[in-house]
């Protein structure tokens, strides 16, 4: 049986850890609320963007446009949104798994645009090509930064370096459930047009269709990446909140167990002392 002192030391160390996880949980709860509000606010923009692009694509039909047909290159670019900090449960590894476990995305044919340090570390370790390392965007996403990234992606696509562009991020379903998603950015696939809200064939364009696509698609991609960032930030904090909540209750359990052990040890030592005293007095008497 461990000594009372050992148990006590162990218990206070776990208590210290529990305080940290508790504080981290509180911090991520607050951050989550903020991130969620931001994600909801921007939702409006993306819905409208999605609808408008949908109405444009449904109108132009099957025209030959470089943004609508796959490029020649075998290479693919993927923008991966992970966090800069760990301790968020499976958040980062789930996003990474989307890519490493996907047979259609081969390691040698992939250009990784890593947003967030955690994802980059894993991909670098596995020998993926890290085309760009952008840890700062996730801290405070600015639309202008996303625009610049989109411009670089489109340039790489237009130069024929990559034939397809993907986005991997975590979709924020609700506080307890986040879902990693892989989204194809380019070529733009014809959207599912079953839903209502699509303006049918009466829409006119100034300038003409093809030119309009040239100008709107980059904005569309920027908005998807930006929206993905907002979702990812909310998801990160949601995942961390949950992980820290679990850690806190695990610590609680361990503390309870150790307290019990400690009390038993104390009881044991008291009993032992008493027996010794009584035995001693009996020997004398």
């Amino acid at each position: 049986m461990a000594s009372m002192r050992d148990i006590k030391r162990r218990r206070s160390s776990i208590q210290g850890t529990q305080q940290i996880t508790k504080a981290m949980k509180l911090v991520s709860t607050v951050k989550l609320q903020r991130a969620r509000a931001a994600a909801e606010k921007s939702q409006y923009y993306f819905d409208s963007m999605y609808r408008t692009v949908g109405s444009i694509l449904s109108r132009v039909g099957h025209i030959e446009h470089r943004y609508l047909t796959p490029g020649d290159s075998e290479r693919k670019a993927v923008v991966v949104i992970t966090s800069n900090r760990g301790l968020a449960g499976g958040y980062n590894s789930n996003v990474v798994k989307l890519i490493t476990r996907n047979d259609a995305l081969k390691k040698e044919d992939l250009d990784v645009y890593a947003i967030g340090n955690k994802g980059r570390e894993v991909f670098a370790r596995h020998g993926y090509t890290i085309r760009e390392d952008l840890p700062d965007i996730i801290e405070d996403p600015l639309y202008s930064e996303v625009n610049e990234l989109t411009a670089r992606l489109l340039k790489s696509y237009e130069n024929g370096e990559v034939g397809e562009i993907y986005l991997a991020y975590t979709f924020f379903k609700n506080t307890v459930s986040q879902e990693p998603r892989l989204l194809k950015l380019l070529p733009v696939e014809p959207l599912d047009q079953d839903g209502d809200g699509f303006v049918d064939s009466v829409m006119n364009f100034e300038p003409e269709d093809v030119e309009a696509i040239d100008m709107i698609i980059p904005k569309y991609i920027s908005s998807l990446i930006y929206g993905g960032l907002k979702e990812a930030i909310a998801s990160e904090n949601g995942a961390r909140m949950q992980a820290m909540d679990n850690a806190t209750s695990n610590a609680e359990e361990m503390i309870d167990k150790l307290s019990l052990q400690y009390n038993r040890a104390r009881q044991g030592s008291i009993t032992q002392e008493l027996t010794e005293i009584i035995a001693g007095s009996e020997a004398i008497g």
Binding site: Y44, Y45, S55, M203, M215
Partner: protein, 133 residues
Amino acid sequence: MAEKEIELRIITPERVFYEGEAEMVEFNTTEGEIGVYPGHIPLTVIVKPGILRIHEKDGERIAALHSGFAEILPDKISILAEVIEWPDEIDEKRAEEALQRAKERLKNKYENLDVARAETALQRAMARINVIK
């Protein structure tokens, strides 16, 4: 009244910038300036930097609209704006400086100058300054 007013919604990635009814809306597009009354044919246009004028029933509101695109329907306009500012959000001094910088660049024509970018910067700065004045 319903026939005389058009629903206007201006959305940016960060917020809903404006939501309301207007009698007429004016702004600048790649094809030139455009004024939209209720009952306009469905049209999608690309925004160019310029002044956005919202003619409301009792007065006019203006804003500097820099980029994005607009979807016009007979009873509704949705402007998806990447950058848009009310006059009181504009830093006049910064806009003046940006204007000078852009003019300088276009005048000197450095090697590998991104002319399109400099021109956009110039238009933006001018839009900002015009909105304040």
